[in-house]
Symmetry: C2
Subunit: 254 residues, 2 copies
DNA sequence: AATATACCTTGATAAATGTCAAATATATAA
DNA sequence: TTATATATTTGACATTTATCAAGGTATATT
């Protein structure tokens, strides 16, 4: 029991993930059903269609949630970082695959036992509910990006998201989150393309364009420096771009 | 108290919406804080940025959740039908506008009182949590559609979604959901475009193409007949379409 | 019935993005 | 270090979708 407490005490997300909703004694009983797991980069945690029999806390690293079409096209429908929680689903089976983007440490719980635990710990359920709402919110933001933004704005939006994440702690090889932010990208151009609904070539071209217009600098292809994050934000959120239909809108704006 | 019970008894979504999680006595106290509201088509229920001070049950009709960019481009990030629940958000303010697509009946609750009620009714919270998970799921499905499907597939996907909804009850002017489904579309081509990340012209062209290839028939522009729903499903989910990047995938599929 | 209004369809053309291909850079392994 | 594989950039060209424009259809109003 004392040992159990010790394990969670060294957990990097103890105070931010779902466990932050629990007091010490509850944490100890939750810890008993947990299993630690280290996963190398680019490994599958579960497949689309698999029975969902575990939940996970992401302690370090990053995870891609991937949907694949019959002909092989694929799309990343979510990215999970510490202190995210993974595995909740409506049905008994997963509707996407989960794959590590970089080396990742997880903490897993068997679904049955965890669900039971939840019934006696409403504060934990509320915490997970709240994180789910946040996820829905960012999924809808992404929907706007995919539905109505041009490739230049999309890539800027992606970098902005990463930069903001640095800001909120968990630096993955980067400096400060505010102006002058620099970080190492944990994704290939192709992975970003799958997240942005583009091709890797288009992503690469927009990186070059952002560099050319001095919105970012690229000491190397995976290292990004953002001299002025507001400038990046402006590109991501308003930049003049003719792609989507604007005619009827102009009228509305009068 | 008796009168209160009577009101909810006639509610068309009593057994399917969040209230289905409650027993009669709990329902009566919830009913006390509720207010009935009828809204004509194309009216705003709340704006993006508004303080979120109410929750809603959708009793009849349909609601569009709309995000708008600075330059006027807009995107529908969600559609709500009976028996959906609306208004949950992470923050104190809404991050999208809600607008009726057709005449709609709502039942509203003041946020403070409802939140308090939730703390004493975990079964209700669980129900809402579950519906939120379902919404996240469909948002991710939509993300795949927006990120990786061509316009033909998108329009087919939209019609499939509507057809399936008919199937699950709540016919909005339509016949059976299974083969031979016919229904009246409650959306203009422009609204569908805003949902699908396309222009209204492209939506119109894909309607014509679906008609030309006998996947649907169109007695009039707003009335759709689906002779074979599996055929429509095939178009929505696999149809050969060259748009998104498939090169690296082909290797993976070997 | 005539007129007005909103919605829809279709064509011609332009712009954005995907596809294919080659060269270069970077990382990994021997 | 060199060799090898992988990732990235860039160019040329093809395709898809957006844009602009005109005409058609349906519905509501007078």
């Amino acid at each position: 029991m004392h040992a159990a407490q010790l394990r969670c005490q060294t957990c990097p997300v103890r105070t931010t993930n779902i466990c932050s909703a629990l007091d010490d004694s509850a944490l100890i009983s939750l810890e008993k059903m947990s299993r630690k797991r280290t996963v190398k980069a680019h490994e599958v945690i579960f497949h689309d269609g698999d029975l969902s029999n575990q939940y996970f806390n992401v302690k370090t690293g990053a995870i891609k949630l991937i949907k694949t079409l019959g002909d092989g096209r694929q799309h990343i429908v979510g990215l999970l970082y510490p202190p995210d929680f993974m595995g909740q689903c409506v049905n008994t089976h997963h509707t996407y695959s989960a794959e590590t983007a970089i080396d990742t440490e997880l903490c897993s719980y068997p679904r049955g036992a965890f669900d039971l635990f939840l019934t006696t710990h409403p504060e934990l359920e509320r915490k997970i509910f709240n994180m789910t709402l946040r996820e829905l919110d960012s999924c809808r933001d992404w929907s706007l990006l995919l539905g109505r933004k041009c490739s230049y704005e999309r890539v800027a939006g992606f970098l902005l998201m990463i930069a903001k994440r640095m800001q909120d702690g968990s630096p993955e090889g980067g400096g400060p989150g505010r102006n002058g932010a620099h970080f190492q990208l944990p994704f290939t151009r192709g992975e970003m393309a799958d997240y942005l609904g583009l091709t890797l070539e288009t992503v690469s071209r927009q990186f070059s364009r952002l560099k050319g217009e001095r919105v970012i600098s690229l000491p190397s292809s995976r290292v990004v420096i953002i001299p002025d994050i507001d400038m990046l934000g402006a590109v991501a959120n308003v930049e003049t771009c003719s792609k989507p239909s604007m005619r009827q809108r102009k009228v509305m704006l009068v």
